[in-house]
């Protein structure tokens, strides 16, 4: 089975004035060519930091250990020059907030063009033509005019389309989408998801979709990995997990999604009791045990390893 992007045993630590924070622990993920992997979890579960680390974009106080392989290069140990041959070219990334993720003082055409000028050694004129072409392919209306606009002159949805166009310019093999729809209106969200689906089909790009929105995952992903407190707690085929989740946390997340069918019975929204844990003071044993409905003494004492598809002692019963 071929793998295009391989994360092995990744650990991410942040040193803070209050001590070390274990943001990501022992995460392994393998991405197959052209597949769409969903990565879900609450805020602070480490889902974004996993790929920030993989792309060498950690904040200054963060360190990553383990390995992230792309085409024979370990991105964690590669020097800046080698990393920059892959970033934005073979592996591209789009971010949550298209308002702040584009440079405010640079025209859209220039921000797009510089990717091609750098990676493809194009002239400014060629880069502009290619940028225009890409804007059209991501269905930006009046694309020619947009090239000479500043990001603040575009709507949120258009900015995200510009971000996606920027990511696709070099025809990457892997697109990492970090909460691509979170900051957008619901109707615009649907349009952006349609676009990502199209990207996958037309370009054969493998997509990592990082989100806290299970609805987004259901619509796009083939496989899903669920993260909790910096660890993967369940991973598997998206249909199977939605139909019969094995980890109590996944089951809890799914039951939190309001559904039109059971509106008769559910008057209040279902929630998982308790708070996500403080990463500096993780509970002993399974990090989820204080909030788990199936908790017993073993869960409190011992941390379950990711065996097969899930990290839970109670998985058989689930």
């Amino acid at each position: 089975m071929s793998t295009v992007f391989d994360i092995r045993d990744l650990n991410v630590r942040f040193s803070t004035p209050d001590g070390e924070v274990a943001a990501v622990s022992e995460v392994s993920l393998a991405l197959k060519p052209g597949e769409c992997l969903g990565l879900v979890g609450e805020s602070g579960s480490g889902k974004s930091q996993t790929f920030m680390a993989a792309m060498g974009l950690l904040a200054r106080n963060g360190t990553a250990s383990g390995a992230v392989h792309y085409g024979g290069t370990n991105l964690l140990t590669a020097n800046e020059t080698d990393l920059n041959k892959i970033r934005g070219d073979r592996v591209a990334m789009i971010f949550q907030d298209p308002m702040t993720s584009l440079t405010p003082h640079m025209k859209v055409g220039k921000q797009l063009g510089e990717v091609l000028i750098h990676h493809r050694k194009m002239s400014a004129r060629e880069a502009r033509a290619a940028a225009l072409d890409m804007l059209k392919r991501v269905h930006v209306p009046e694309a020619e005019r947009r090239l000479d606009m500043y990001p603040h002159e575009l709507s949120g949805g258009l900015r995200q389309r510009v971000m996606i166009a920027m990511a696709l310019l070099c025809g990457p093999e892997v697109l990492i989408a970090d909460e691509p729809t979170t900051a957008l209106d619901v109707t615009v969200q649907a349009q952006i998801l349609d676009l990502l689906r199209e990207v996958r089909v037309q370009h054969g790009t493998a997509i990592v979709l990082i989100t806290h929105d299970l609805g987004v995952i259901a619509g796009l992903a083939d496989r899903v990995a669920v993260m909790y407190a910096g660890r993967i707690v369940e991973v598997g085929d998206v249909r199977q997990i939605f139909r019969s989740p094995r980890h109590p946390y996944t089951a809890g997340l799914l039951s939190c999604t309001p559904s039109l069918e059971n509106r008769v019975t559910a008057t209040a929204l279902t929630t998982i009791p308790g708070q996500p844990p403080n990463l500096q003071r993780l509970p002993a044993g399974c990090a989820f045990h204080p909030r788990c409905v199936k908790v017993d003494d073993r869960c409190r004492a011992e941390r379950p390893a990711l065996v097969g598809d899930t990290a839970c002692f109670k998985a058989e019963a689930a």
């Binding site: 993720s101 584009l102 440079t103 405010p104």
Partner: protein
């Protein structure tokens, strides 16, 4: 943008008159008068003097007369430097102050901004701490301490070495005579610029769009120069506006210690001598400069951040 500039200049005119008016009456409100410091003169002579300098009329009349002449570019005769008009004094001194100020400004930008960027890129490293340590020293040491210290080092201890520098005065007019005064003048601005640039650069490097630029695979140098720098320059420009106005109008301390005939000393000497017209002249000059520099800063904002637009209603 042009209509905005014109509008701002039109608004600056009433502001300018308010400043000049306030200054006029504040000067007169201060106790004492221009002729009190001299040996007591007979009342008849004093009356003649007051009449000659137009001080015998009611205050409002004086104010009206002064304003009418000022609008025509006539700031009147100096009370202290007799035989000179204020316009002549400023015309002689202003170029000297402005040259030194401009040189100090350029020096401050050329050193302060790169040092600040370097410190930000190496945040919390030894280089950062060293640079910021020097900057703190530059801010903490007043220029009336710095100037004599520099004179001691470069004019006295290093005498007869290639590093010897003249202790100011215009001398033969050579560049060498300007080195110490310009350096003294710029030191505190180098320090402030380094600190402001460092802080705003650190802030800019944390922005999401800088992360995007890095994710695009651009070399770090072009991430910094093309994406972060322009954003980081906004606080620097804010500081440079009024700083330019202050630098160009000279410094009393520096001009006194290095014996430079600029206009910086007129601010203090004029006020102490109750040289009403001279104080009014230098105040009008620096008020106009500050008003212009504020406009330049606002126009620069629009260049640095296209979200700033002045033309729309």
């Amino acid at each position: 943008m042009l209509s905005y500039i014109v509008r701002r200049l039109l608004i600056a005119i009433p502001t300018f008159f308010v400043i000049v008016t306030a200054c006029f009456f504040l000067m007169r409100a201060a106790p004492g008068g221009p002729f009190d410091a001299e040996a007591p003169v007979p009342p008849e002579i004093l009356a003649n003097l007051r009449a000659a300098y137009n001080l015998d009329k009611p205050l409002v009349q004086q104010y009206a007369d002064y304003m009418v002449r000022m609008v025509q570019g006539d700031f009147g005769p100096s009370f202290k430097y007799k035989d000179f008009t204020v316009t002549e004094l400023i015309a002689q001194g202003a170029p000297i102050s402005a040259q030194n100020g401009l040189a100090a400004l350029i020096l401050a930008i050329m050193i302060g901004v790169p040092v600040g960027i370097m410190a930000a890129l190496n945040q919390n490293s030894r280089r950062d701490y060293t640079a910021m340590g020097f900057a703190m020293t530059g801010i903490a040491v007043p220029n009336f301490v710095m100037a004599p210290t520099l004179i001691l080092i470069f004019a006295i201890w290093l005498k007869d070495t290639p590093f010897q520098l003249p202790a100011g005065s215009l001398g033969d007019g050579g560049v060498k005579h300007r080195i110490l005064p310009v350096f003294t003048l710029s030191l505190v601005y180098i320090a402030y610029l380094a600190r402001i640039t460092r802080a705003s650069m650190i802030e800019a490097l944390r922005q999401n769009f800088v992360r995007t630029a890095r994710a695009k695979g651009l070399p770090y140098r072009s991430v910094v120069v093309r994406h972060a720098l322009k954003n980081a320059m906004i606080p620097v420009v804010t500081f440079l506006g009024p700083a330019t106005a202050f630098l160009l109008t000279g410094s009393m301390v520096v001009e006194t210690i290095y014996a430079l005939p600029g206009i910086g000393r007129y601010f203090v000497q004029g006020a102490l001598n109750r040289d009403y017209t001279l104080v009014m002249g230098v105040t009008a000059l620096s008020a106009a400069l500050i008003l212009i520099m504020n406009l330049v800063v606002d126009v620069a904002y629009a260049y640095l951040d296209p979200r700033v637009r002045y033309d729309q209603r």
